[in-house]
Amino acid sequence: MAAAIEVAGISKSFRIPHEQRTYFKEYFLHPFRRTTYERNDALQSVTFSVDAGEFFGIFGPNGSGKSTLLRILAGIYVPDAGRVRVNGLLSPFIELGIGFNLELNARDNIRINSTLAGLTKRQLDEKFDDILEFSELERFVDQKLKNYSSGMLMRLAYSIAIQIPFDVLLLDEVLAVGDASFQEKCFTTFERFKNEGKTVLLVTHAVELLSRFCDRVLLLESGVVRTIGRAEDVVESYREGALVG
């Protein structure tokens, strides 16, 4: 089967300065002081591939590099080394609460997001009502997003992400703040994507989601791939590791 995503040896590190120098003054006051950095190796030669039509889980403790990995797959971050290949159209749902303009209403945010994601005006006109309907935010469409709750923002972001035409869907902690009824709705879409043969990458902490939906799961720890395998096995090995460690 053709691979939807091929990741070969990607590494990414961030340099976190011990003191932020954003004004020239700091260079004048301390001309000889070298800026020192804390190096954070978020990902170290990560290699895996995801088959087309696969529902692929990514699992790991906080700060293990899951979101960095997803951002690299989405083309948002540039890896320091390695290669990423995505076959087909990709739609990302990345980290809650960023990327919306909170001073604008939902209508304008939907239009900006979908247009940037590549929708034509006609596609947008077709999809606009679907996006609103799925998010159940029709009543609030003309309200500024700063008045939205985090659950409402998440619904809006998820609705946009799944209405953009895609072959590969990246989902980062999509169910973190939704209520039960919206979760059920998301599960229905998950089933639909599986049936339609879409490729889905799901980053989550919820073990039951991994075993319910994922064909395979990747366990990421401190930026390194620990194991890839069936959900039950991976969760098992994570628990053992946590106990031993």
Binding site: G75, I98, G99, L116, A117, G118, T120
Partner: protein, 264 residues
Amino acid sequence: MPYYLRVLRVVGAIEFKAKYAGAALGYVWSVAKPLAYFGVLWLVFAHLLRTANQTHDFTIFLLVGILLYTFFVDTVGAMLPSIVTGGSILRRLAFPPILIPLSASVGIAITFCANMTALAVFIAIQKVTPRLEWVLVPALLAELCIFCVGIGLLVAALYVRFRDVVQIWELTAQLLFFASAIFYPIGILPAWAQKVAFLNPFVQVMQDVRHAVLGGPSGPNDVTAATVYGGAAGRLIPILIAVFIFLGALAFFRREGRYFAERV
């Protein structure tokens, strides 16, 4: 419609609307601002100081200067903070980051078009004789756009790293207002200062637009790059500077843009 234009249209229109939302007079303000500037300067120089006598058709002369300066400064001013204030969307979606500062400049371009209508009205009132050279004005404005966008991209990318850029730019814009012969004829400057001034493509465009629109007897206001640098080849100097700045800024922005998502 190609992707870039579509984004500029949609995002530019939304931001333009949002900028004046809640203001009673809406975007009337954007047109009123340069006209108010113009009114004050016109009063001071045409009536109180009477330096206007030195220039032919001071009203249009001044209005052209102010409108072009406003366009220049506002474009750069809108692009400068755009990545820092509006860049968080780069953290959720992969798209060419240049679209952010370009979208921010769309509203300024719309305002400029409205202001050009005001200029047309003044030209009609002043009964300026139509001249063949008017057809050159769009080309000159295109050059100004290239220059403004070049500077805008440069400062927008720098601002992500250095927050001093705002202060530096504001000071520069202030100084340029007094140094660029906007409200006085450039001919009153010493020859060396004229040579320096014309290194700024904005000054060249402004002088050429004035020359194209007004023509008339060569007075101190009718100085162009060709006069200052001696010969037609001298015309190329500021144009090349504009193109060079644009291409350099574009390359710099592309290089930096790969990491905006990590830095904003």
